[in-house]
């Protein structure tokens, strides 16, 4: 694979799944080693965008250019997984090499690699367990491990923190941060603006069209959020990070169309190129 230029370029991508455009004129690049979050309301085209990158959905217009030989791995939403399927953790991981290692049993080298990865992800000793018999965080990490075993150039995750508790979200975000520090390019979708999106280096705000692209501090503004979500939202700054708050219906006592600073945040670090720790207990 060549190493120059973006991993993937979307240029004016429009997708229509039969009921009108799901994505319209989407243009942005994914550079090597970057960590991008895609945010937007339900039905805004986030999953469609990931599937366009995977080429399982073909755009009706526009151009997707992927680096020749690009390896993409995909971690699906946990809600789409059939948890009743008879499959153990080890069997899930062996799917990673489905296209290259055809024989059912793993080679010694693969066995070592799987054991090492399971240990790294805190899953050692769970290889023989059925996937349903794991905690939510362990389940998410199993599918992340399957993706990583494919040694991807680009890792795509669809709502990786959906339905998990704060601690699991915290651990997963740190794990992804470590992978990103090691040079892994990551794109994830999320509904969680304060727990996930605000800690990422770069966001793409999407509502069929791209409404903004940039660091959270630049794009998580009341104006962009209103264009993206179609509802008035306020933004507070805490520890240098923007946090989005709902404006209660009928309320007149809210922060008006701009960033409001909480007084205790001055001097705290901000995210620059790396995901920061999640906002556990950051706002009161």
């Amino acid at each position: 694979m060549t190493t120059d230029g973006p991993l993937a370029s979307l240029d004016g991508i429009t997708c229509d799944l039969g009921h009108g455009p799901v994505l319209r004129d989407v243009t942005f690049d994914i550079e090597p080693g970057t960590f991008t979050g895609i945010v937007g309301p339900s039905g805004s085209g986030k999953t469609t965008l990931l599937k366009t990158l995977l080429t399982t959905i073909r755009p009706v217009s526009g151009r997707l250019v992927r680096r020749p030989g690009l390896r993409i791995a995909y971690v699906p939403q946990v809600e789409t997984i059939d948890w009743t399927f008879p499959v153990t953790v080890a069997e899930v991981l062996h799917m990673a090499r489905a296209g290259r290692h055809l024989r059912p049993w793993p080679s010694e080298a693969e066995r070592r690699e799987v054991a090492s990865l399971l240990e790294r992800l805190g899953l050692d000793g769970l290889g023989g367990r059925h996937i349903r018999a794991l905690s939510g965080g362990q389940q998410q990490r199993v599918f992340l491990a399957r993706a990583l075993l494919g040694r991807p150039d680009l890792l795509l995750l669809d709502e990786p923190t959906s339905g998990v508790d704060v601690r699991t979200r915290h651990d997963l975000l740190h794990l992804l941060g470590d992978l990103h520090s090691g040079g892994q390019a990551i794109v994830l979708t999320t509904h969680d603006l304060n727990g996930v999106a605000t800690h990422l280096p770069r966001l793409v705000c999407l509502n069929t069209e791209v409404t903004a692209i940039g660091p959270p501090a630049e794009v998580l503004t009341p104006a962009v959020l209103e264009r993206t979500y179609g509802a008035p939202l306020d933004v507070l700054i805490h520890a240098g990070l923007p946090f989005v708050v709902d404006i209660p219906l009928g309320s007149t006592d809210h922060f008006h169309a701009g960033h409001a600073h909480l007084p205790t945040n001055e001097g705290l670090p901000t995210n620059e190129g790396q995901p920061t720790g999640p906002a556990t207990g950051a706002t009161r």
Partner: protein
């Protein structure tokens, strides 16, 4: 006891039937895992009915049953996939439309031609009479090919069964594996249908896999268990058929149902015991 076991071996057609039932049971058990886990339990039922039309046409035209019915079955299976993908029709509805049309076509031929009627009757109800050495070689050949494919392409078959969308995104050509499984399924139905019967073969495809599923949470172990259960019930069912003088397909399916009931009850008790809270001693 030994006499009871060896008695059927005195007749060539019964020897052949024992091989077809045992090996065919293993074949159906193995493929049944994919049928059940892909939610295609109705497909085995439908495919046998569709192939009935092809079998009737082969008999009417005087061509080989395996060639005529095989082409018919494969075409029907691929058409089901195409109709399901191209239109907003569920696979169960597409199976219902296309396979019953094939069965109806066979019935029409059955009424029009006495030549067809003689060879088709055994196909509908299943019979061990007239099972030839060629039939045994066909089922053994289909089983060897199927086992080789399942072992050789185990991982992509598992991936496309568990998570077809991610498999496709990971570069696994899912449509090709779907077609490959359809081809193997047609082979299994064709080679075992005359002994099992059109109306009963679906159970031979589904029941061993369902029983195996209740016994394990591992895909690999389920494949092995389902194959063993299919082969064992095929063999024992065939003996029961001979000694009780009942139809071979019915004997095998009833035996499989009995195994299902036993395992269902036993695993239910096991699960209830596991869920029972441990009593704590109070002082």
């Amino acid at each position: 006891m030994i006499d009871l076991l060896l008695e059927p071996f005195e007749y060539a057609f019964l020897r052949n039937a024992l091989v077809v039932c045992t090996v065919g049971g293993m074949l159906c058990g193995l493929l049944g895992v994919f049928v059940v886990l892909r939610g295609l339990s109705y497909l085995g039922h439908g495919l046998s009915h569709a192939i009935f039309g092809g079998a009737a046409l082969s008999a009417a035209l005087g061509i080989s049953y395996f060639i005529g019915a095989g082409i018919w079955g494969l075409a029907t299976g691929l058409a089901i996939g195409r109709v399901t993908r191209k239109r907003p029709i569920g696979s169960d509805a597409a199976i219902g439309v296309l396979t019953t049309a094939g069965f109806a076509f066979g019935i029409v031929l059955l009424g029009l031609s006495t030549k067809v009627g003689r060879s088709i009757e055994a196909t509908v109800f299943g019979s061990v009479l007239g099972v030839t050495g060629a039939d045994t070689w066909m089922v053994v050949g289909a089983t060897v090919v199927t086992v080789a494919v399942v072992v050789g392409w185990y991982r992509p078959l598992l991936f496309t069964t568990f998570d077809p969308e991610v498999a496709e995104a990971s570069g696994v050509p899912t449509a090709r594996y779907d077609a490959l499984l359809m081809l193997l399924l047609c082979g299994a139905v064709l080679t075992t249908m005359r002994v099992m019967g059109v109306t009963l073969i679906a159970a031979a495809l589904v029941v061993p896999a369902v029983v195996a599923r209740m016994l394990t949470d591992s895909f690999g172990r389920m494949l092995v268990l389902s194959t063993v259960i299919g082969g064992a019930t095929g063999l024992v069912g065939m003996y029961l058929s001979y000694h009780l003088d009942v139809a071979s397909g019915a004997a095998i399916v009833l035996l499989q149902f009995a195994v299902f009931v036993v395992v269902f009850v036993a695993t239910g008790i096991r699960d209830a015991v596991r869920r029972r809270p441990v009593a704590t001693a109070s002082t």
